[in-house]
Amino acid sequence: MLAIEHLYKSFGALQVSKDISLSVATGQCHAVIGPNGAGKTTLIHQISGVLRQDSGRVLLGGQDVSHLSVWERVQAGLGRTFQITSVLPSFSVLENVATAVQAKTGSSLKFFARAADEAALNEKAQATLSRVGLGDRIDRPAADLSHGELRLLEIAIALAGSPKFLLLDEPMAGLGKTESAALIDLLNDLRSDFPMLLVEHDMDAVFQLADEVSVLVEGEIVARGTPSEVRENPQARAAYLGDGA
C-alpha cells in the first residue's frame, strides 16, 4: 500500500534520513520507533509532503506521490496526525471534523448554501467524534479543549478524512491511561479498513498494535522485525528501549 524507497533528507549538515526504505501492506500496522530526534517526525513530514525529501521516492498504492503537494497527497488518500497538535482553534470541535469530512465529499467551490446545515457532513463528523470519545464536546471551540482532548480531536480530524492510509505521530502522547486504551482498541478496529504507519514512544501501544516494527536511530533503520523480535534485538535495546521493556 505504502512504499518508501531510499529516502534521504538533511537539514544543513545534519542528516535526518539516511536511505530509509520501508513498505506497509494492506491491513498492516507498521510502527517506527527510535530515540528522540532520530528523524521519525521528519519521515512522516516527508511522506505527507510537508517536507520535501532530498532524494528517494514515496509510493502510495503503487503511484509515485513524491512530487505531489500536501493536499494532493491527502486527496490521493493519505491522512496524518501531528505530534504537536494542529487543529482549527476558532472552529467548534464538530466543525473541525466536518471541515475534514467536507474535503473528501463533493466540491468545496460552493458559495451559497450553508455548510453548517449539511447533515451528511455533520453526521459523519459526529460519529467520528463519538468514536474517539469526544462526543460530548462537539459544541466547544477547539481552543477551549484541554491538552488531552486536543490530542483526541487531532485523531478525529485525521480519521474523518476517510484516508486510505494513515500516518500517526505519537497519537498516545498526552492521553490518560483510559483514553490510550480506548484509542488502541479503536486503531485495532480500523486496521482492517486502512493500513497505518505508527510513530509512538508508548511501548504498550506499539506492541499491541504493530505487525512490524522498524527501529530508527540517527536517521537510519537499524533493526526491523515483529514486535517480539525487536524487543529482543540488542541494538534496539541499547539505543532505545533500555531494560525496562
Binding site: S48, V50, S69, V70, W71, E72, V74, Q75, R80, F82, S86, V87, L88, P89, S90, F91, E95, T99, A100, Q102, A103, K104, G106, S107, S108, L109, K110, F111, F112, A113, R114, A115, A116, E118, I157, G161
Partner: protein, 314 residues
C-alpha cells in the same frame, strides 16, 4: 429563521430603504449624499472583510481596486461607452484580471508580509494612475457625461442613484454573508485559522484564497464604478494607501468577520467625521482617542456592542 445578526441587518436595510422618504419629511435631503458615500464605503468594507475577517488576509491595497474600477469606468465613459451594464462588465474584467495577477504573487506570502506586498501593488497602481496625464494625472478628471441604465439616466442622480447603490450594498452584504457560511467560506476560514492543517485536510488553500481575493477586488471595483456615478469625478487619491487604511479601520472597528460589522464601521466613520467636524474644528483631538477607547472597551467591534457574546462567523 431570524437570528440576531439577520435582525440587525434587516433593521439597517429597512432604515436605509426608508431614508428617501424620511429625509424630506425632516427637511434633511442633503443627507442623501452622505448616505450614498457611506454605502459606497460599506460596500468596499464588506468586500475587504471577506478577505480580512474570513480569510485572514489583511490587504493594504484594497482601495487600489476601487481606483481601478473607477478609472475603468471613467475611461469607458470618456471613450463613449455609457451603458452601465457594459461598464460593469469592463470594470469586473479589469479589476478581476488585475487581482488575479497581483493576488497570485501576493499569496506567496502571508501575514504582515501579505499586508505589505498588497501595499506595494496598491502603490504601483496608485502611481500609475497619477501618471495618466491624458486622464488628468494627479488632479483627476471631471466627468461631463455619466452612465445610463438601458439608455435612461435614472442611475445618475438623486433617488435613482440612491436605490441603485442601496441594491448594490444589499447584494454585497447578502452575498458575502452567504459566501462566508458556505463550503467555500468554511475552507477560507480554516485556512485563516491554521493554513497547514487546512492543507493537510486536503485543501489547496492558495487557490481558495485567490478566489476570495478576486471576488473582493471585483466588489471593490464595483464600488469604484458607483463612486464615479456619485462624484462625477475621479482622481488617483481614491486609490491611495490611506484609503485602504480607512477601509481596514472600518472593518476592524465594526467587528471582523461579522455579518453587519463592516456596514456599522463604515457608517460610524462617515457619520462621526461629519458630526464631529461640524461641531469642532479640531475634531481629530476627539476622534483619535475615541478610536482608542473603542478598541480598548468594545473588543469585538461595534458589532459586539449590539450583539454581545455571539461571534457568528467563527
Amino acid at each position: 429563521m431570524m437570528d440576531r445578526g439577520a435582525l440587525i441587518g434587516g433593521v439597517i436595510f429597512a432604515l436605509l430603504l426608508a431614508m428617501p422618504v424620511l429625509l424630506p419629511i425632516v427637511g434633511a435631503e442633503y443627507l442623501t449624499g452622505l448616505l450614498i458615500k457611506a454605502m459606497l464605503l460599506a460596500i468596499a468594507a464588506i468586500s475587504l472583510d471577506l478577505i480580512i475577517g474570513h480569510g485572514g488576509m489583511v490587504s493594504l491595497g484594497h482601495a487600489a481596486f476601487i481606483g481601478v474600477g473607477a478609472y475603468a469606468t471613467a475611461i469607458g465613459l470618456e471613450s463613449g461607452i455609457e451603458e452601465i451594464l457594459v461598464l460593469l462588465a469592463i470594470t469586473l474584467a479589469v479589476t478581476g484580471g488585475l487581482a488575479l495577477v497581483t493576488g497570485t504573487l501576493a499569496l506567496r506570502t502571508s501575514g504582515v508580509y501579505f499586508l505589505m506586498i498588497t501595499l506595494a501593488f496598491g502603490q504601483m497602481i496608485y502611481f500609475t494612475l497619477t501618471s495618466l496625464a491624458a486622464y488628468g494625472g494627479d488632479d483627476g478628471l471631471t466627468l461631463w457625461s455619466l452612465a445610463t441604465f438601458f439608455g435612461s439616466d435614472i442611475v445618475q442622480e438623486g433617488e435613482g442613484l440612491y436605490f441603485f447603490v442601496f441594491a448594490a450594498l444589499f447584494l454585497t452584504w447578502l452575498g458575502v454573508w452567504r459566501i462566508s457560511q458556505s463550503r467555500f467560506g468554511r475552507v477560507l476560514r480554516a485556512a485563516r485559522d491554521n493554513p497547514q492543517r487546512a492543507e493537510v485536510m486536503g485543501y489547496p488553500i492558495a487557490r481558495y484564497q485567490l478566489i476570495a481575493y478576486v471576488i473582493a477586488a471585483c466588489i471593490a471595483g464595483v464600488s469604484g464604478l458607483l463612486l464615479v456615478q456619485y462624484a462625477e469625478f475621479v482622481s488617483p487619491s481614491i486609490a491611495a494607501w490611506q484609503r485602504s487604511g480607512d477601509l481596514i479601520v472600518a472593518v476592524v472597528l465594526g467587528g471582523l468577520g461579522s455579518r453587519n460589522g463592516a456596514i456599522l464601521g463604515a457608517f460610524f466613520i462617515v457619520i462621526m467625521e461629519e458630526f464631529l467636524s461640524s461641531i469642532f474644528h479640531e475634531w481629530r483631538l476627539i476622534y483619535g482617542p475615541l478610536l482608542v477607547v473603542l478598541v480598548l472597551y468594545a473588543k469585538g467591534g461595534l458589532n459586539d456592542l449590539l450583539h454581545p457574546k455571539s461571534r457568528e462567523a467563527s
